[in-house]
Point group: C2
Chain length 283, copies 2
């Protein structure tokens, strides 16, 4: 039976380190601050905003929540974003996506200040991710995966890592981060001939496709480390991941639960990135 590797101890460790650092900043009169920028009242966004705000407060990061009406024009959205870009008291900016369709994300991603772009919306930060440039901000979920692997002592160098899913939010950046750590990386997706075989080749299997319980026991090699980034609801109305947890845990050496796995670390990465931005902006 696999060791169930939870996100909470990882988040707790990072939180503790951040809280200490931020306490020091406070003593020096510094106040790291995140601004969140939400359009409309989508439940997902509100839940994520609440989670992020709680996490920031827990470590001593101030939060300014900007909420704009659902029918805001692109121009007015840009005005609000540029105000945050220019505000020296704001170190990080988190824009909840997807934005409503009157706002063109391919325009906005060039407007957010890359130095405050703590969740890798700006193409400049995507470039830094691909280059392995440590000054950039990598996307939070794949970064959370890397923190999990590091915390639980999973060796990446030379490991065969199979990434199932190639989205810009999870799969592609996770593949780049694993490759930058010298794993041998394979990326599978909807056009892959034999995704089960790709998964079976992995010492580490990262799954982020959004299909409930897609990954079965026979997709996983004995002793593999399984990282499940999916968040779905099964036929009985329970939250579940992309991995058939009950069966796969019989073969894996480690497996993340859903909920309680990678998702528990994501907002902590946001906090870590706000602190990183604060430090970069204050020398």
């Amino acid at each position: 039976m696999a060791k169930i590797i939870k996100g909470k101890p990882v988040a707790d460790k990072i939180t503790e380190e951040l809280a200490k650092e931020i306490e020091m900043f406070h003593k020096q009169g510094g106040k790291p601050k995140l601004a969140t920028l939400r359009v409309g009242e989508r439940g997902d966004d509100i839940a994520y905003e609440r989670g992020a705000t709680n996490r920031m407060k827990k470590v001593g990061i101030e939060v300014e929540s900007v909420v704009l009406p659902q029918d805001i024009t692109q121009n007015d959205f840009i005005v609000a974003l540029e105000k945050l870009n220019k505000d020296d008291a704001v170190n990080g900016i988190l824009i909840f996506r997807p934005l409503p369709k009157q706002i063109d994300e391919s325009v906005i991603k060039y407007i957010i200040d890359p130095k405050k772009d703590i969740d890798c919306f700006s193409p400049l930060n995507v470039g830094k991710l691909a280059e392995g440039d440590p000054t950039g901000f990598n996307p939070c979920t794949p970064t959370a995966i890397m923190e999990m692997l590091d915390f639980y002592g999973v060796e990446l160098k030379g490991a065969d890592a199979s990434v199932i899913g190639s989205s810009m939010v999870v799969g592609k950046p996770a593949a780049l981060l694993l490759l930058n750590q010298k794993a041998t990386v394979t990326v599978a997706h909807s056009k892959t001939k034999d995704t089960a075989q790709v998964a079976r080749n992995g010492d580490i299997v990262v799954v982020g496709v959004g299909v409930a319980k897609l990954v079965k026991e026979d997709w996983i090699s004995q002793g593999a480390v399984v990282i499940d980034v999916g968040i779905n609801v099964d036929e009985e109305g329970n939250m579940c991941g992309d991995v058939d947890f009950d069966n796969v845990q019989k073969k894996a050496s480690m497996i993340t639960p859903v909920p309680g796995g990678v998702g528990s670390v994501t907002t902590t990465i946001l906090a870590k990135h706000v602190v990183k931005a604060y430090k970069q902006q204050n020398g």
Copy 2:
């Protein structure tokens, strides 16, 4: 025996298309122009400069060759680069790398105007590459690979593509371009446990590691397409690739020669990118 797929027909086809387009620009009074920026007198740089210049002239692109002394300061280099950035007559800028060590490439890559950065030096263009954003400039060698595969009708969607080598110049961008075309991509490198096995899994095998004749016959599956990006000199003083051509061609369905393969297409991609930059800059 494999079909030997040469670069020349690919370069000729692109050249012909570009020449027609540029003739039209000339009629409208437009003059696409490349500026090359070289520091010192390295033989590699001079050879590449000569090849690029000849290729540009062949299609009707003007070339301005800027040559700076080997001991130029970073500051003076930046002055020269910014002059080209600001010169409206210059559509594309090619900087020969590596730069001498007094010039910090991690500074310069943020100074070249991304709109004129036709060989993907700017992190912004690396970001566009990772995102699959067609407005960017991908690096020339991996783009030449993609043009070869397209010209010779190699199906990428769902194909298993093995990339041997993970450099920022060849392997990593080639992997991203193949992934963006929905190949199932595996990247192997110096820390990979069994590079031969990774190669054997490929319907398409792209090799760019700089080790003469590394890839042997038993590394390649019957019928695979083999793209060799290496340029080495063998023990007899002959130019050769990273693939043991004479033996691998017995198993592959298609194979690029060295010389005469991917390398023959690279400067044509430069020309294509100058034209793309010209069009973007002139609406």
